[in-house]
Every structure is written in C-alpha cells, then in structure tokens.
C-alpha cells in the first residue's frame, strides 16, 4: 500500500508546478483571459513539447500511455494556477472519448494531432433543455447515403470558439430521453452548416453555442457503433470526473493556503486575525474539507487502477466517482465561500485572485452534473438495489 506518485508522475507534476509558478502568475492569466481568443497558443505548443498533451494516450499513437493517476497529477497542478488553456476539454474529455472509441482509423488520424498541439477539441453534448442528463438529446443525425445529416443546437460547449473539432452527440434513433439511439460524431468546426457563437464564461474560460444546420458527416466520422454513445460515455466518465475533481482539489488547497497566509498578515484590533479562535476553527474546517476531498480523490484513483488492471469490476468505482463529484461540490463551496469571507472586503474584489479561483470551482461543480445530481446517482446505486 502506498499513496506516493511514481518517479515519472513526480517529474510531470514538477514540470506543471514549475510552469504555473514561473510562467503563469495571476497577471499573465488575466492578460490571456482578456485576449481575443482567451487562450495562449504559445503555451499550448509548449504543453505539447513538454509532453503534457500526450499523457493519457496510448503509445501506438505517440502517447505517453498514462493512466488516470497521471491525468489527475496534471489536472491538480493546472488547478493551482487556474490555467485557462483547454487541457480538460481537449485532452481529458475529447481525447478521453477518442481513446475509448472503437473507430481505429479515426483515432489514428486525430489523436496524434492532439498530442502535437494542433488540435483543440471539445465535446458538444449539452442542449438548451438537457441540463445534466447526457441522454436528453434532441439533436438529430439522419441516415443518408454514406453518412448522416446533423441538425440541432449544442450549448455552453467548452472551448467551443477555439476548438477545431467537436465530438457531437446526436440521436440516430429513439425518443428524446432514450439511453439508446445516441451516436457520437467527430465534426470539423469549419464544416458547412456548423455555426459557432462564442462567449466568455465566469471562470475566464470560453464556451460557445454551436448550431448544426444540415451538416453532413461521413460514416467514418462515427466514434463507435451506431446508437451506443452512452456506453462509450459511461466508460470514460469516471476518468473525466476524476480529472475535474483533481483540478478542483488543486484550487481548494490553493484557496486554503492563500487564506491561512492572509490571516497571518491581516491586522485588526492590533493583532493578526489568525489569532482569533473563531477564525482558526473555520480554517481548520476548511483544512479538513480539503483533506477529505483528497482522500476521496485517492479512493477514486486506487479503484480506477484496480478496474483498469482487471482486478475488480467497476461497481465500487461507479459509486466512488459520484461520491467524489458530490464531495467536490460540497467542500468546494465551503472552501470558496470561506476564502471570500475570511479575506473580508478585499475578497470581494475582481483584482484579487481569490474570486477567480472560486468561480472556477463553481463551474467545475456544475460541469457533468452538480453535487445533488451525483449524490442522487450515488443514492440509487447504494440504496435502491
């Protein structure tokens, strides 16, 4: 038993830590967020050179062959800098779905371009009415000679304005809420009929509403068997949720240490506010919240490894990822709100980094299901069998 990172994991962790510390200070980030594209493409090329973009991909595509622990290591450190470049959306989500796809030709052509830094991707799944239910799909894919025609609207598509490619969920059969009958297509963002309206999100990242007006896609653009998108998505979702939770953990630990440090320097009533017991106990509670979140993340990592190595089935992991996302939601909210409160007036300002960390935590909370959503899923698995 051990909770240590391997030598390789420590190396990649250190490299991300160093980048955040030396090249991604808060002013730099602000400049990127305020730029037209909202990302720094030079940094993205550097991520490629440093090998970060290759982490989860198989060696046969030029990848590092990493597992979910490697992803978590990178994501946690990116979280500490609230890095806005679309690592999660391109590498973890888009790349994760591709890695699990059965369409070998598609994988062989696209994955290397992600690794080289030439492909930004995004998963276009959310619709104006679908909220957290991935199976609520009204976008249609109508079978035509040699392929399909897509019609529909996807909204708040992460990184939608800069993505070269989308993986789009669309209904090839069945009714709006049916689990089966959804298929996944790889669609070029410049394909005729694709309309992208980009906007900024509260966390400094960008998103887009993407409309598909009779967009033609070939059979070869389909990720896996027709109508079976949900099987593929369910397979990848634990890794996605763990990756986002690791990012959240990095944010939570940073907020805690910024708050503790601030309390030691802020003087009121002639003494540092850190000397007040009521504040000490609140900081102890946020410390415990962070440690418990870390433990839940580690639980997810250990169970994922054990599933991927064929030692156990995924029943325990399924419960754990819901519990993890719910824990991140609950404790992320606690830590974020306490960080603002303990900073006082300065915590309310846009100038200080605190609010920006908090806003990223808020967006992670709602992404792929909020805390209540996942807790209900957890309840179904735990109490309704």
């Amino acid at each position: 038993m051990n909770f240590e990172f391997s030598e390789e994991q420590t190396m990649i962790k250190d490299s991300v830590t160093r980048f955040v510390r030396e090249q991604y200070d808060f002013d730099t980030r602000r400049g990127i967020v305020e730029s037209a594209e909202g990302i720094n493409r030079d940094f993205w090329s550097m991520f490629a050179e440093l090998g970060w973009l290759s982490v989860p991909f198989a060696e046969e595509y030029g990848g590092f062959g990493g597992n979910v622990v490697d992803i978590a290591v990178v994501m946690e450190e990116l979280g500490k800098g609230i890095v806005v470049e679309p690592y999660a959306s391109t590498v973890v989500v888009f790349g994760g779905l591709l890695s699990a796809a059965t369409n070998q030709d598609l994988k062989a052509s696209v994955i290397p371009t992600i690794i080289e830094g030439n492909c930004l991707g995004s998963f276009a799944y959310m619709e104006p009415q679908s909220r957290f239910e991935m199976t609520d799909v009204t976008t249609t894919a109508e079978a035509v000679e040699g392929g399909y025609t897509l019609n529909g609207v996807k909204t708040v598509v992460a990184n939608g304005g800069t993505a070269n490619s989308f993986i789009v969920s669309a209904r090839t059969s069945g009714d709006q809420f049916d689990r089966s009958g959804i298929s996944l297509f790889l669609v070029d963002s410049t394909a005729p009929g694709v309309e992208v309206k980009s906007y900024k999100m509260m966390d400094g990242q960008s998103a887009a509403t993407v409309t598909f007006n009779s967009v033609s896609v070939g059979d070869a653009q389909m990720l896996n068997a027709v109508g079976e998108a949900m099987d593929l998505i369910d397979q990848v979702m634990p890794q996605i949720l763990i990756g986002l939770s690791a990012e959240a953990l990095g944010i939570m630990s940073t907020l805690n240490s910024l708050t503790v440090d601030y309390s030691k320097t802020r003087q009121q009533f002639g003494t540092p506010i850190s000397s007040f017991q009521v504040l000490q106990h609140r900081m102890v509670d946020t410390f415990m919240a962070c440690e418990q979140t870390k433990s839940m993340l580690y639980r997810g990592l250990c169970e994922s490894k054990s599933v991927s190595e064929g030692e156990t089935d995924d029943s325990a992991l399924a419960k754990t990822v819901h519990a993890l996302k719910a824990t991140v939601a609950r404790y992320g909210k606690t830590i974020g709100e306490e960080a603002i409160q303990l900073h006082g007036g300065i915590g309310m300002t846009d100038e200080l980094n605190i609010g920006h960390y908090v806003k990223r935590l808020m967006m992670i909370n709602t992404t792929f299901g909020d805390g209540d959503y996942h807790q209900k899923k957890f309840n179904q698995l735990s109490y309704m069998s």
Partner: protein, 394 residues
C-alpha cells in the same frame, strides 16, 4: 498509488477473520451487548481472557512486555477486522492507556507488578485526570499529593471516571508542587482503589446508565513506590499517553458496520408502507454520512501508509478524531431517527418484543451516550485548537 496488501498480510487477515468468526460467536456477542443480563465487566473480561489466551490482547505493546510483534500493517488489519466484526474494543484504561506509560516511563518493579496483571485482565484500571475545575484545561487540576516520608497523601476530586465502580486501580495526575509553571508541578501516581479514604460516587448519564463516576480522595496514603518516573514530571508522561489515545479514534471499521446496520434497519422500518430507505430525504442524510466515511477510510489509510513507511503521521492524522466522532454521532442520530417515537419508550416499562422495533432502545442509548465522543479524549474544539496551531501554524 494503490492499497494492495501483500499475500502474507492477506493470509494474516484471513487468520484474524477466522479466529473472530470462531470465538466471537452469538453467545459472546449477546453477552457483550448487555442484552443477556450479564454484567458488562464479567462479559468483557471473559472476552479479553480469550484474546490473551490467543496472545492477541496487546498488539500495541512491545513484544518484550507481551505484545504481538506485529508489523504496523498487521495491527491495522487486526483493528479493522475487529471493527468490521462488530467486536467491542478492549477496555482501554489498562491495556491502552496506563500500560504504555508504565512500560515507557516506569521502573522494573512497576513493570513486573502491573503489566502481567493488565495482560491477564486481572486488574481493572480507571483514569483519574479530569476534575470539576479541570476539563479541557487539564493543567488546572488541583488534586494534591503531599510528600510525607514513604507516602504521598492525596486529597481532591476526580470526575467523569469511566468504570471506577469496577476498578482495582486508578492512574492519576496529581499536583505535587505549586508556584511553578502549571504543567511542571504535576506527577503521575498509581493508586489502589481499595485504599482507605477513597469514595466512588456514581454519575448517571443522559442515557439513563451508570458508567461515569466521581472519585473522592480524603487523606489517601499512596506509597511513593507508586510514583511513575520523576516527581513533577507527570505532565510529560500524560502527554505521551494522550497522543496514544488520539490515534485510532477514527473507528472507520466500526462506523462502516454501524452504517450497514442502519441500511438494513431502513429497509425494515416503514412510513406509509414504504421502507425508509426509499425516502429521498432519508437517502440524502444517509449518503451525506456514507460519503464522508468513504473519504475518512482513505484518510485513515493515508495516515497508516505514511506510518508503515516509517514516517510520522502527516497533518491528515489530526482530523481522524474529529471526523471519526462526528461520523459516528451522525450514524447514531439516523438510527434514532429510524427509532422515532418508539425509541422513547424506556426498557422495563415495555419489553422490546412487545413494542417491536427491537433496536430502538439501543439506538436511544447510543445516541445519548454517543454525545460524549466529541467531548472526551480532548474535546473536538480542543482538537481544532491543536490543528490550528500544529498544522496551520495559526
């Protein structure tokens, strides 16, 4: 990053499991539950003697004094299996509290006199720390021990003394010097409960039971040979003991078992004909606890792994007591919620068979007495002070 045990450790786990399955049978369980009408003392002593016969009574002790010589992994496995099997822990006052002080700071005569009888459960020990004016602020204690030739003459009051009514011996913190720093004039004394001048007064707790006591000392003569270590250095010894007490307070395995029991109850207990486990609000309350416990299980593993690797327990260890007790209280609370109004009926007025809901009386008792968990062993507020200072540097 994995939680795999070695083949040897899994073999050890199976051995422990088999032993518990064989020896902790339904009869023993019934006796220890208190439902069989057998006095708690004789039930637990008889169970402890079985553990001693197996050689497993004191896994925490060094082998030379009667410990098992287990690795830290084996100790962890043993405690986990005990909790999962629903077996109560040994009475801690002798085996886990005073014994480590005796074998660490005591002299050879004291070791020879006390340790074997603790191992054999021949002596029942209790703890004389808290006083009416010294709770969380333990160093405020005023029970005095005045040096008088071969004896100390002890005067004062100790309170919240668990099982003093059964005890043969009490280990006490007493004040031997005044006028110095408060912590510096305290000594660690072992006192025979049969000594003239000792009076034990029962304190009935809010669960309606008697396990706590007040112990009064009036000119009690204690031979100086019963002083541990040096006079006025007792605080140091007690602090070492408190650290011992705080580790292993997460009781994850015990809580896991309680939670499983809760789920089974929630299937059986109905409202409007529907099992409580299907009630969405009750489900949220259960999963609030279950998820926290899933995390705490890994927090405990993280602490254990760093200790097994020869390191010191990290900052995560300090939260074990706080979170562990909060979780066990939360489970008690839901058990009592399931017991509902039925749980209010006191035993003796109506048998549980007549009333149904046979768990209800126990749920009430555990909830009421369980409030103590966040008070004893250093209250959770004191624990937060400790983390604030030692971990966060506040």
């Amino acid at each position: 990053m994995d939680i795999k045990f070695s083949a040897e450790d899994i073999a050890f786990r199976d051995e422990v499991r088999a032993f518990f399955a064989k020896e902790y049978d339904a009869t023993v369980a019934e006796q220890l539950s208190g439902r069989a009408g057998i006095e708690y003392k004789s039930a637990i002593v008889s169970w402890q003697k079985k553990l001693h016969a197996k050689g497993w009574i004191a896994p925490g002790w060094p082998k030379e004094y009667g410990g098992t010589g287990w690795t830290s992994t084996q100790k962890f496995i043993y405690e986990t299996e005990r909790g999962l099997a629903g077996i109560p822990d040994v009475v801690p006052f002798g085996l886990k509290m005073v014994a480590p002080v005796i074998y660490t700071f005591g002299n050879e005569e004291q070791k020879a006199k006390f340790l074997p009888r603790i191992l054999e459960s021949e002596d029942w020990w209790c703890q004389g720390y808290s006083e009416p004016g010294a709770g969380s602020d333990l160093a405020a204690l005023t029970t005095s021990a005045d040096y008088a030739g071969d004896n100390y003459i002890v005067n004062g009051r100790k309170i919240w003394t668990t099982f003093a009514q059964y005890a043969d011996w009490i280990f006490c913190l007493v004040r031997t010097s005044k006028g110095v720093r408060r912590q510096e004039g305290i000594s660690f004394l072992l006192i025979d409960m049969k000594s003239p001048g000792i009076t034990v007064k029962p304190i009935v707790t809010i669960d309606g039971k008697h396990s706590l006591n007040e112990v009064l000392f009036e000119d009690v003569a204690v031979p100086t040979e019963n002083l541990i270590g040096e006079q006025d250095k007792g605080w140091t010894y007690a602090k070492a003991l408190l650290a011992h007490e705080r580790t292993g307070m997460a009781e994850v395995a015990d809580s896991k078992r309680m939670l499983d029991g809760l789920k089974k109850r929630a299937v059986a207990e109905v409202n409007g004909g529907k099992p409580m486990i299907e009630d969405p609000v009750f489900q949220m309350r259960m999963s609030d606890i279950e998820m926290e416990l899933m995390a705490l299980e890994y927090t405990e593993l993280r602490v254990f792994a760093s200790m097994a690797a020869g390191g010191m327990p990290g900052p995560e260890s300090s939260l074990l007591k706080i979170k562990g007790t909060e979780i066990s209280q939360a489970i008690h609370e839901l058990q009592l919620q399931l017991a509902a109004t039925y749980g209010g009926a006191l035993p003796g007025e109506l048998s549980s068979d007549e009333l149904g809901h046979d768990f209800a009386a126990e749920a009430r008792g555990k909830y009421m007495y369980g409030r103590a968990a966040t008070i004893y062993g250093g209250s959770n507020e004191v624990q937060r002070n400790v983390i604030a200072k030692a971990v966060l540097g506040l």
